[in-house]
Symmetry: C2
Subunit: 244 residues, 2 copies
Amino acid sequence: MGELYKSGAVFADDGSELQFCSTCAFGSVCLPGGYDKEALRALHCLVEHVGPYREGEYIFRTNDPFGVIYAVRGGTVKTCTVDSLGREQVLGFYLPGEMIGLNAIHPERYPCDAIALDAVYLCRFSFPALATVASQIPGIQQQLFRLLSKDIGAASQLAADRSAEERVAAFLLGIAGRFAARGFSASGFHLSMARTDIANYLRLAAETLSRVLRRFQDQGLLAVEGREVEIRDPQALQALARGA
Amino acid sequence: MGELYKSGAVFADDGSELQFCSTCAFGSVCLPGGYDKEALRALHCLVEHVGPYREGEYIFRTNDPFGVIYAVRGGTVKTCTVDSLGREQVLGFYLPGEMIGLNAIHPERYPCDAIALDAVYLCRFSFPALATVASQIPGIQQQLFRLLSKDIGAASQLAADRSAEERVAAFLLGIAGRFAARGFSASGFHLSMARTDIANYLRLAAETLSRVLRRFQDQGLLAVEGREVEIRDPQALQALARGA
DNA sequence: CAGACGCCTTGATCTGCGTCAACCGGTGCT
DNA sequence: AGCACCGGTTGACGCAGATCAAGGCGTCTG
């Protein structure tokens, strides 16, 4: 396995402003060298860097009034709801470059908790301010629409009716792809979330997740050691994820 | 049971333009008498009325290139995907006043099929044109953000890990609430979708849905007769939906 | 009008996954 | 060092809901 992902919190490599932005959700519209300098300036003057949040800290809580959205700069965040009789439901995990809080626009309150899973650094955007900028800069409005639309797709994906093996395979490939998109290794990586959280996210019992991982490992599809994962046979996993 | 909902396709009562708009997703920003006359004019000149689509007709298909979104004016639409081995997954049902196609913005292709369940009338909006209007009229941009955000919530709701009874109870109350929001009866209504579709949407077998409905009926929570539903004890259903 | 087909329901059986229980190794606290 | 605790794994068992099978009813078709 590689080195980068073993060193703890996931981060853009050298920590410079520029590197942060290259992994960010707005990267495509506001990277220096990209065609939209104006967008870059506008965003840079409305973003606030916040963090670090420590493991277990809340970034926002269910029912907090909505005002800001966040982009993850470093670390990992989970969002979850807890229903009327205390059952937790993990809604998502967010890696660097991903956006949190978009599901709060409609109810105007956060409909879930957001919790740091390790040391978390964020960019905070006032949503009203961002909306104003968006109405002046089409690229940014467009990007917001895309991000929102993408989240609908992600949630529908989760809602699909699939077996334990399909879900686990799809989850691992999904994570791998997201790491790859940020320039990390897609074959070996560190999971910053507990088995419990992954299982909950996949709507499985932790025991079931454990058994599926063992089975995959016995079949040589991957190697798992604690939270370190190495994908050995992505083709076969793809096939499983699609319901072979 | 009442009369209106027995007469077939669901529609705003008198069919006038004004009535259509009062049930529409943009109603709140563009109703005459509302404060934003400008928005009203802008939207009215970019909307196209289309339909009727007949039962079973496709409004769009998976992988069609994205260009337009639709608001339902009359009738009911279902969206669904079919996975690599032909398993269908119903993603949603859309009643008058609801928006279809928002999940296509990101991939720039429709990620699902949209199929008419009865006689369907739609308002069609070119999305690029709508985005342009949105950047000039804050209320419309805001409304689009809200609609997108709402869909994330709806999809997450569906993804929640709940028992057959919880899902069915929540579904019926959800439909009732949406009818009520459009000015129809919340206690008695007509389902325009087949049991198969509802079951699929709820990730249940059709047989399970049938049994749960029977049980609810035996407990006096509701009366079902084919596709006619009458909610008898909304309190109790609420309790069940929350996982009593 | 007869037959066929689709939709829904009901009953019997099967099974994937949840639940319960026990155990292991690592980590932090006293 | 000793102990408690937490996260993860494994095995035995049970159950909610899927699957299989059959039958009823309404509608379309020839």
